[in-house]
């Protein structure tokens, strides 16, 4: 009750739609060609190290990390490089991409050998060599996150709060051994004494499994999370699991990060990928994605080579239902994922879903006048006040936006989801945040 007075932060009751949770992962047939962009992470794009006509194998390095905050990129198929050229990504930005014609043999690069890890530095080198980024959707390079020295708690994000998506569920059910070995390696070499695995309550079988497997692991605990979107949002997850709050501003004046409150968050698939890499030496070249929606013939979980085009993924899932008109392609979940303008975009490292909605399911209601009911305020997981912020943004009131902490918006979409007037609340929030940051930088520049 008292906490409710401070901040309602109830989140949104989104539908679960986890129809594919019981479907085992199927390996996707190797597509004829893949397109691997050099920007599949937050930070500097990778620099391509292959040229047209080169022969590559599975796991061959094709993109070298372009800075400290960046990640290596490896070929997901064996074959010949068709082209290295700029391409427009699905989010509208342009970056270089390597197109590879697959020979279908999937020969493994002999350079892929299990890394030797003895301490934190060698672990970080191994993580860089694996090309690991946050696989939950953000794509932040993992090695950068783990480099901080102030961490005492590793939070494993297995909330999977987005509707439809079941890739993390399948990871826990199918690859629990590599999850545990990955956690073990991170805790051991980074000297992190505690680990909390946060799993939303709508996955009881995963909670049971993780409970039984971690019983004998000192410092590791499982935390069942309430069934409210967005439990998997980093700051919300840290608060629910540890009670700590990620500060808005770090002591150095930049935006606060989990390390400022002693935490690091890793997605459960990321940590499992690390476990697999330490075991086999095969870098991150495939990704499990949930293919679902009312327009796809055979929904399921697919292990796709990174760079496979949506078109081929859809083909592998039986194509679009014949009597349905495809209305929308969403990469990621329906709450935070983006809509693709066509099926000619590649699957990225951080993609975890591909939703194909019929025109009927994709139709959105018209916006009506705001009735000031305050449901967006109740829902906001960060405790922001979208209706007030929208007003302040309309007035271009910088000080008011600063007082309302607009920079904390995580764009989870809860406010839009719950709005009874069907207003595009989170878009207004995004515009307000962008305007605020621009003004702030402008002021700092003066």
């Amino acid at each position: 009750m008292l906490k409710g007075l401070k901040r309602s932060a109830k989140g949104a009751r989104v539908p679960h739609e986890k129809a594919t949770a019981g479907m085992a992962t199927v390996k996707m047939p190797v597509p004829q060609h893949v397109v691997i962009p050099m920007q599949m992470h937050i930070g500097a794009p990778a620099q391509p190290v292959v040229k047209k006509g080169d022969t590559v194998m599975v796991g061959t390095l094709i993109g070298q990390a372009g800075g400290f905050i960046s990640a290596d990129i490896h070929s997901s198929v064996s074959g010949t490089v068709l082209d290295v050229a700029p391409m427009r990504m699905v989010n509208g930005t342009v970056c270089k991409a390597v197109a590879i014609k697959a020979d279908g043999h999937q020969t493994l690069d002999p350079a892929c050998t299990p890394p030797v890890v003895t301490d934190k530095d060698s672990l970080l080198v191994a993580i860089r060599a694996c090309g690991l980024v946050g696989l939950g959707g953000a794509g932040f390079p993992t090695a950068v996150k783990l480099a901080a020295n102030t961490i005492d708690t590793l939070v494993i994000n297995a909330a999977e709060c987005e509707p439809y998506l079941t890739t993390d569920t399948r990871e826990m059910l199918e690859c629990s051994d590599t999850i545990l070995s990955g956690i073990d390696a991170v805790m051991k070499y980074c000297d992190i004494p505690n680990c909390i695995i946060g799993i939303e309550r709508n996955k009881p079988e995963c909670i049971d499994l993780m409970f039984s497997l971690t019983r004998d692991m000192p410092g590791v605990s499982v935390k069942p999370l309430p069934m409210r979107y967005p439990q998997g949002a980093e700051k919300t997850l840290i608060e629910t699991c540890t009670g700590r709050e990620v500060p808005q501003t770090a002591p150095n004046g930049k935006g606060g990060i989990p390390a400022d409150c002693g935490c690091v968050v890793m997605n459960v698939t990321s940590v499992s990928t690390l476990g697999k890499y330490l075991k086999t030496g095969i870098p991150l070249v495939t990704k499990r994605i949930t293919v679902d929606g009312d327009a796809i013939a055979k929904p399921g979980n697919l292990e796709a080579p990174i760079g496979a085009l949506y078109r081929d993924v859809i083909e592998a899932c039986g194509g679009i239902k014949p009597d349905v008109e495809l209305g929308k392609i969403i990469f990621g979940g329906p709450m935070m994922g983006g809509a693709a303008p066509s099926a000619d975009f590649p699957v990225l490292k951080q993609n975890n879903g591909l939703l194909l909605l019929s025109r009927k399911a994709a139709a959105l209601p018209e916006a009506e006048p705001c009735i000031r009911c305050g449901r967006c305020i109740q829902a906001c997981p960060m405790g922001l006040e979208p209706v007030v912020i929208a007003e302040n943004f309309k007035n271009r009131d910088f000080d008011a936006l600063q007082a309302r902490c607009i920079d904390l918006c995580v764009a989870c979409g809860s406010c839009t989801y719950v709005c009874p007037a069907k207003r595009p609340v989170s878009q207004t929030m995004a515009l307000a945040k962008a305007w605020y940051l621009k003004e702030k930088n402008g002021k700092a520049g003066k």
Binding site: G4, L5, K6, R7, S8, A9, R13, V14, P15, K235, T236, E239, V246, P247, Q248, G256, R311, I314, I320, L326, G327, K328, G332, P334, M335, M336, G337, A339, A340, P341, S342, A343, A362, A363, L364, P365, E368, P369, C370, I371, R372, G374, R375, I377, G383, L384, E385, V387, V388, A403, L408, G413, T416, Y417, V418, P420, A421, K422, S426, Q427
Partner: protein
């Protein structure tokens, strides 16, 4: 695949099924027990009053938007809610033309002239009631008493008689004089239960109003019976459940709602006990409505991990003084 016709929109790509019309519909359903109770207690004319007022409200809204070539908002049902609440706020023998005047004030003057739904500064039905109360004072207080009512209530509203002689059961069931919707506490509580169950409103506003009134009245009278009569008499419950909770004119956050509720409870208590009127609820809510922007300003939520801006202020002050020093 017909890719050129794909829909591309910003996330999120799904919405819940709540709508303005649905929320207003919930309020209408919650008002049904009060309408039925009014029909039982005061006779069938109450249905006529409700019908005429609702028709007038919807009609005025439609005509206004037609005249000004605005989109037709009748489908959101908010005018229906205003009409029912206004009708339940008049005595049953109110001349129908006065109800139509009230509807005009509520819909055209208070709601539409200020920009329609979402922009009214106070609850339209409330202003309609107050306007009628001020403009047609004798008719608004010309309460009709149900035949079943006991003698103690045959004089005026229970607020004006000695509370000791009033039966609590009669008060609860609504067998006493008053406005049509206000008298039956049972029907109002049924409506509240429905609103809470459908999450149309939260408990913060009605709860804090009633609790504040209870505490203050009990402290003043030290008599549980008199306190309960006070709570069920007049427009307190009806106002707390259906009028103070109007989304547009009540604060956003839980904290703000509690402050607002306490304020309304306090003002009602003060007006009832120290003012010249027996009935203070509608004026208390009006004051609360008008102060809502301030309540909003006083009751902001604390965002997750907010860093206090003190440091920035200090820096600013330091920069300002440095600037002065430089100029000097």
């Amino acid at each position: 695949m017909e890719e050129q016709r794909l829909i591309v929109t910003a996330s999120p790509h799904i919405r819940d099924n709540s709508t303005t019309r649905g929320l207003m519909g919930n309020v209408i359903i919650a008002l049904v027990p009060s309408i039925v109770a009014a029909a039982f207690i005061f006779g069938m004319r109450s249905l006529l009053v409700v019908g005429v007022t609702v028709a007038a409200c919807v009609g005025f809204e439609y005509l206004y938007t037609l005249l000004l070539k605005k989109p037709n908002p009748v489908g959101d049902l908010s005018a229906v809610v205003t009409g029912i609440i206004l009708a339940l706020n008049v005595p049953v023998n109110m001349p129908l033309w006065i109800c139509v005047v009230g509807a005009f004030i509520a819909i055209v003057i208070v709601k539409q002239l200020f920009g329609g739904i979402g922009y009214n500064f106070a609850n339209p039905a409330l202003i309609g009631r107050i306007a009628l109360f001020v403009g047609f004072a004798t008719r608004m207080t010309d309460y009709v008493y149900p035949d079943m009512a006991v003698d103690a209530l045959a004089t005026a509203t229970p607020l004006a008689v000695d509370a000791g002689g009033v039966s609590l059961l009669d008060m609860f069931l609504g067998l006493h004089g008053g406005m049509m919707g206000e008298v039956c506490a049972l029907a109002i509580l049924l409506g509240l239960a429905y609103l809470l169950a459908t999450r149309t409103i939260g408990f913060a506003i009605p709860g804090s109003i009633v609790i504040t009134m209870f505490v203050l009245t009990f402290a003043a009278t030290r008599d549980l019976h008199a306190t309960l009569v006070e709570l069920m008499a007049g427009g307190l419950l009806f106002g707390a459940v259906f009028m103070a909770t109007d989304y547009v004119t009540s604060p956003f956050t839980t904290g703000g709602k509690v402050i607002y509720g306490i304020f309304i409870g306090l003002m009602t208590f003060l007006i009832r006990n120290f003012g010249s009127m027996n009935e203070g609820m509608s004026f208390a809510i009006l004051l609360g409505n008008l102060l809502t922007p301030w309540f909003n300003d006083w009751s902001h939520q604390i965002p997750l991990g907010r860093t206090k801006q003190k440091k920035a202020k200090k820096e600013k002050a330091a920069a300002a003084s440095a600037g002065k020093g430089g100029a000097a």
